[in-house]
Amino acid sequence: MSPPTAGPAPPPVLELDGVTFGYSDATVLRAVSLSVREGEFVAVVGPNGSGKTTLLRLSLGLLQPHRGKVRLFGIDAASFREWWRLGYVPQRAVASSPLPLSVEEVVRTGLAGRERSARRGKATSERLEHVIDLMGLSAVRRRRVSEVSGGQQQRALIARALVTAPRLLVLDEPTTGVDAAARAVLRESLEHLVGVEGMGVVYVSHDPGAFAGLADRVLEVEDGGLVDLAGSILPSVTRQTASAT
């Protein structure tokens, strides 16, 4: 996905440096290192329970590593406060909502952490309109999100993540319960975000087919470590090869 460039490599947006983490009964990740740059698409695969979601939560600063460092945009994740630079698409958060939220309200929740003035600013309103339009949600913005298609629900979550114009987008199993047509739209959107807008993407999935042809690197969480699959098990799913750091 990364456009070929002759200049210096763009700065890393996410770095894991020798990260070890475990729960009370077991170590899940051991001395894992990873670096993701702007304009780079990194896919993380692995079976259920392998530690993908733990890796994702560590990357977002939701968990603190027992050893090692996590840095977002060069800042230690524990003291990172520039949340607008980070977009997160949680796994199937919409379908289980007991109360009605409109599609637009879901997208607006992405602005909740910003200052009041920023939430109401003209630029923010324009950005809101832009992402709703970009994700093809204009016609359904006032509909209950639980009543639109699975693909539209997923796009609402992505629009929510994009509304602050982040430079790193982290997606957790975004194609779960989504039909083939919606997957195609999701792929197009991600291609645009990485190729045109130069966003860094971390895409966590148990399904390698979901990002085939998009990923610069495919990493598998295996036995607590990260294994680079480029050119080995899944040669067809990567367009470029790069080693996991």
Partner: protein, 279 residues
């Protein structure tokens, strides 16, 4: 006979309507977070504060507020430490009501007074108490308005809210405080054991009709107010217990809203499935 002519009914209408209008504002967030019974539990714990206030001769409302806020803080801390399992919460909540009754009995509080606290006694309110209820309701409205985007984000998905920069720990604390304010505000009018119903039932009714979160809040508040007024009128004319009549009216409103909502959704699904006029 016009019930609004009587001062005791005027006070009851004002107190119950204000309480029932603001309770669903807070309730919408706890329902969305899957914590519908938190208000019920908070009422149990507040009763311990009432019992303590009876024993030491303090104002019951102050005791209830202090106890429910402390219990709320304890629950938040336990939750963050991964200790707030069902059993731990049940121990705190049932311990609260048992301890409250023990203290109230020791203080020699009469059964009528205790029943009034548990199930409400809106016909016995002083104007001073009505003003306190109004102040608590105003505080709940102000907090809801000030924190609304962050409360919605928290209720939608706590982890996603945190990654968006919402200080989720503080917002959870604020929400817990808001539940305590509603419980204490509703103590005298609808009762500690029934006020939780007014946080949940109008929200459930509104969710059948509204198509947005904001719409749910306004509709739930309207359903709560309607239930309070209708329930009080029913109680006045049929000589029923006001708290029970209010909650049962809200449940009736929920049943009607469910029927309307199901029909409405069927029509919408049929409209969406129908082919466009020109193909």
């Amino acid at each position: 006979m016009n019930p609004f002519e009587f001062a005791f009914m005027q006070k009851a209408f004002i107190a119950c309507t204000l309480t029932a209008a603001v309770a669903p504002l807070v309730g919408s967030f706890i329902v969305q977070r899957g914590q519908s019974l938190v208000g019920d539990g908070m009422g149990h714990v507040a009763f311990a504060g009432v019992g303590l206030a009876f024993l030491v001769g303090a104002e019951p409302l102050v005791g209830a507020l202090a106890c429910s806020v402390l219990a709320g803080l304890l629950l938040v801390r336990m939750s963050r430490a991964g200790l707030a399992g069902d059993l731990a919460i049940a121990l705190i909540f049932y311990g609260g009501i048992a301890f409250g009754y023990l203290l109230a009995s020791r203080a020699g509080a009469g059964q009528t007074r205790l029943v009034g606290v548990l199930f409400g006694s809106p016909l016995n309110l002083s104007w001073g108490r009505v003003w306190v209820i109004a102040a608590l309701a105003a505080a709940v409205v102000a907090l809801t308005a000030a924190l609304y985007p962050r409360l919605v984000a928290l209720a939608f998905n706590e982890e996603a809210a945190r990654v968006s920069g919402v200080a989720t720990d503080r917002i959870v604390l604020a929400l817990t405080l808001m539940v305590a304010l509603v419980v204490v505000g509703g103590m005298s009018s609808i009762g500690l054991l029934l006020i939780a119903a007014m946080m949940v039932v109008p929200v459930a009714a509104a969710a059948q009709l509204a198509s947005s979160y904001r719409g749910t809040l306004f509709t739930a508040s309207a359903v709560g107010s309607f239930s309070a007024v209708t329930g009080l009128l029913v109680a006045h004319y049929l000589d029923y217990s006001p708290g029970s009549a209010i909650v049962l009216t809200a449940i009736a409103a929920y049943l009607v809203a469910s029927g309307v909502g199901v029909s409405w959704r069927r029509v919408r699904v049929r409209d969406l499935a129908a082919p466009a006029p020109n193909g």
